[in-house]
Symmetry: C2
Subunit: 182 residues, 2 copies
Amino acid sequence: MTAGNGRTATGSGAALGDTVAKVVRQWQTVHPGLDTAPMEIIGRVNRCAALLQQAEDAPLRRAGLTRPEFDVLATLRRTGHELTPSEIVRETFASGAAVTKRLKALTERGLVERRGDTRDRRVAHVRLTDTGRDLVDSVLPEQLSYETAVLSGVEADNRRELAVLLEELLIQLEGRLGVPRA
Amino acid sequence: MTAGNGRTATGSGAALGDTVAKVVRQWQTVHPGLDTAPMEIIGRVNRCAALLQQAEDAPLRRAGLTRPEFDVLATLRRTGHELTPSEIVRETFASGAAVTKRLKALTERGLVERRGDTRDRRVAHVRLTDTGRDLVDSVLPEQLSYETAVLSGVEADNRRELAVLLEELLIQLEGRLGVPRA
DNA sequence: AGCAGGTGTTTTACTCGTGAAATATCTCCT
DNA sequence: AGGAGATATTTCACGAGTAAAACACCTGCT
């Protein structure tokens, strides 16, 4: 304990770092030599995601939307055309059951509309109503500027660099796990 | 549409990039000029977290544990001493109700024990049983080497760099949102 | 002493997501 | 034609998390 082996693998010998750095230090005292390197990435990604979600929810809640609901609306908006529920499942990475529920809620609120396919009566086509489109278009800029503010504490060059490195990671992860399409 | 403004802010003018890059391109065609920079970080962090959690669950499930349950056990292990439920709440960033449930489940499985405080009868003290400690000590290395494998697709230097940048981000986020301690 | 208000923990009621089964429809093969 | 098997979507039963209330106990003031 005490301040023994402070700079295990954190790099900057500066202060104490973030929560994950503390956890890593604790592990090093209990299991010295343990390869904790993956924690420094995966632990941080998880923790960042948790904190960001809390933060992000704020502007959306003002619009009466949950993040997954907004994802559905935004997906319809950015693709620019109707989507079937299955396509929404693939785009938003949610389960079919979840999408069904969300579409029901969004339909009841008049933000999306559905129509049956003329050829294949199994499939439905979902599109934004004018209200839904306007909602996305008004919330999205708020959301983005809020996010910009949240990230503003990180040096601009580092933000770019972080985006690039996260892309490299995500490409790997999607290759291994996500998108198992032929 | 088509391949018009491909390299909006992705950096490498290479292929198509990850899922987030695609989303960003879609937004640029619908709302040209929109500042989508935050998505490239926040969107990726969220998506990475989602994919990593699916992946990570695998080795833990083999041990019959969920990730949050393992977090409780690991917290007890790395601190090296008993913790009260409140302390576990603070360490694991879970709600009080969730911790109560998890402790109940872990107690029933004989992985943790509780005792009442002698001075203050409101507080409980939770500690790992021998079985619980052994379980953590056997699962953790598996978990870490699994995670190492998952990350192995990213260049070693980039992994270090990514850890450093995520730490910078997390310090900002924790300063703004988490740890609101005096 | 005795009570007002604070803190630690659990309980309650509810929401939301999930996997698997159910339903409806289509497609292809014979 | 007709049915076996595939596909799109919804329904069902349940597990897990949450916020807020409840509960139990402590502390400090009068």
